[in-house]
Amino acid sequence: MSVIKVKGIQKIYNEGSAIEVRALNGIDLVVEKGEFTAVVGPSGSGKTTLLNIIGGLDVATQGEVLIDGTTISGMSENELIGFRLNNIGFVFQAYNLIPVLTAKENVGFIMLLQKRSNDERENRVNELLDEVGLKEQKNKRPGELSGGQQQRVAVARALASKPKFVLADEPTANLDSKSTSDLLDIMARLNKEEGTTFIFSTHDQRVIDRARRVVTIDDGRITSDVHHA
């Protein structure tokens, strides 16, 4: 069964007013388990809007979103928070981490909200910090880490609770090319090793080149959908 199924999504901001914006204009998309998919397109094409709707952060004006067969379109705000917590990992472009917590505490934060046991959390956090190569930095706070290291912590946190998929909106936008390629190495490896499904948006050609599927949108519509070997 597909992890994500998006049917006929439309998103209109400020509907009915003079400044109405049609951000998404009938999107159909199916994402299978284990995919490593990039959503690309020019600025303002609707990438963030699409990811937010898939992630339950925003509600579509029309259409349906099914996650693992469950429709999230009618859920209340509070239901959505719980659903996100238990099903989706998030990596944002910036402001991902809690500044007052250490790398380790940040990675364990979601599992803590899920009330997982201390042992389970401890093991998983250490495993992931090792995976993203930040074992040495585990007691540092975000402010003491480089941008690339911070994003690696964010990826580790997103994966810690083994979500159904990870949404990453321009995760490398603020990174230099070395950090970008390191982060993608880590994401690709986790995608392979843990079988985690990744969907990320990007502008960056080097990132696009690493994706195994590239969905291009323009003006709120999918204009191409290419699978690479």
């Binding site: 952060l57 928070i81 719980g82 996100r84 809690i98 007052v100």
Partner: protein, 404 residues
């Protein structure tokens, strides 16, 4: 974890949190200090009033209370005195003859005075008039007819120790007497009005002149001023023909001021808390708005609204929990210090004395007041937290993350 995040968030902007903590601390300190000064002042005033004039309990003929006329002396004084001597709760008592419509006749003119006849030895045990003598002595040379007058009167009418003093009064039988006394002591108590109005003379000298002893007032002391309330009721039952009153009945304003000071403390604290309330709201609002993206992120990744709300509330509470105890501690130390060493108000003492106050002010506060203040601070913090916390909940995760 919420506690940990909230606590660390407090120290994120050290200056801002520091300022608000300092404000809370100072506010509470000022409130405690101000309250303790008012309480100390009233306490001292009550103590002085009781110590110099009122004592704990007074017994009169019921008519005398309504109309302070010479004829309303206490009937069956002997019975009353026997009853008082038999009571173990009574430490000392003193009987007084009071001629309220006396006249002091001097070369510089006449003055209306209240002539109070006392037994100097008895009176010494009940009130502190003897310790307020500033010139001469307190009826020590008992030969002749000694009198003690207030300092103001002595100055105004040019009396010195040893000078002759003419006092006129009407006794119970209606006979008018004019007696020659000798000034033996000049007193200055804390109450200028009392000093100006009162002349003390030995009651037995008055009795010799009038040919009969009459008493209008019996003042007595028990262990504490609180114990006086119950004792007065007991004595009243045993002496149904007399009117027995404890200090709060004799001088209702003393009782009122005690209560008013309590109200004043809550008023001071209330005003301070109100100011703090807005200070805290402002600080927390800044903290929330500054962290919009972070809070949006927390909600995006699955932190529920009640938890976000709680986090802001706890963070606010921490500000109060740091500032509050510090303020109470410093307040307590200040009250302790000035409670022992006192604050010298000599500069304004002349004015204070006319209100019946001493010039040294000893701060004082009930321990229970600290608890009340602590509760008020916590309530203020909780109240202050609501608006910023609600503001945090209104943040839309997708919006706040998107905003760059």
């Amino acid at each position: 974890m919420i506690l940990k995040i909230a606590w660390r968030n407090v120290w994120r902007n050290k200056l801002r949190s520091g300022v608000v903590i300092f404000a809370i601390m100072t506010g509470i300190w000022a409130g405690i200090f101000m309250s303790s000064m008012s309480i100390g002042m009233t306490e001292a005033r009550t103590e002085d009033a009781l110590g110099y004039f009122i004592s704990h309990i007074q017994i009169h003929n019921p008519e005398f209370i309504v109309d302070r006329k010479v004829r309303y002396s206490i009937d069956n004084v002997e019975n009353v005195l026997t009853e008082l001597s038999a009571n173990d709760s009574i430490l000392h008592f003193s009987k007084r003859t009071i001629y309220t419509e006396g006249i002091l006749a001097s070369a510089k003119g006449n003055k209306n005075v209240q002539i109070v006849g006392i037994d100097p030895e008895q009176e010494k045990l009940v009130t502190k008039i003897h310790s307020s003598i500033v010139a001469g002595n307190y009826f020590e040379d008992f030969k002749g007819k000694p009198a003690c007058i207030g300092k103001k009167v002595a100055e105004k009418y040019n009396y010195e120790i040893g000078d002759k003093l003419i006092l006129q009064f009407q006794d119970k039988a209606g006979d008018i007497h004019a007696m020659k006394f000798k000034v033996c002591g000049i007193f200055q108590s804390v109450n200028l009005q009392h000093d100006e109005l009162t002349v003390y003379v030995p009651s037995e000298v008055l009795a010799e002149e009038t040919g009969h002893a009459e008493y209008h007032e019996i003042a007595l002391n028990t262990y504490t001023k609180a114990a006086a309330i119950g004792l007065a009721a007991t004595l009243q039952q045993k002496l149904p023909e007399q009117k027995v009153e404890y200090w709060g009945q004799i001088s209702p304003e003393l009782g009122y001021t005690d209560e008013m000071m309590d109200v004043a403390m809550y008023l001071y604290m209330g005003i301070i808390m109100l100011a703090l309330l807005f200070g805290i709201i402002n600080t927390m609002l800044m903290a929330v708005l500054e962290r919009r993206r972070e809070l949006g992120m927390l909600m995006a990744v699955g932190m529920t609204k009640p938890k976000v709300f709680l986090m802001i509330v706890v963070e606010t509470l921490f500000l109060a929990l740091v500032g509050g105890p510090l303020g109470i501690l410093i307040g307590h130390l200040t009250v302790q210090y000035f409670g022992v060493h006192g604050i010298d108000l000599a500069v304004v003492a002349e004015g204070m004395k006319s209100f019946g106050m001493s010039s040294m002010l000893y701060t004082k506060i009930e321990a229970s007041a600290y608890i009340d203040i602590a509760v008020m601070v916590i309530c203020t913090a909780l109240l202050a937290a609501i608006y910023p916390a609600r503001k945090a909940l209104k943040l839309n995760p997708s919006e706040s993350i998107r905003a760059l």
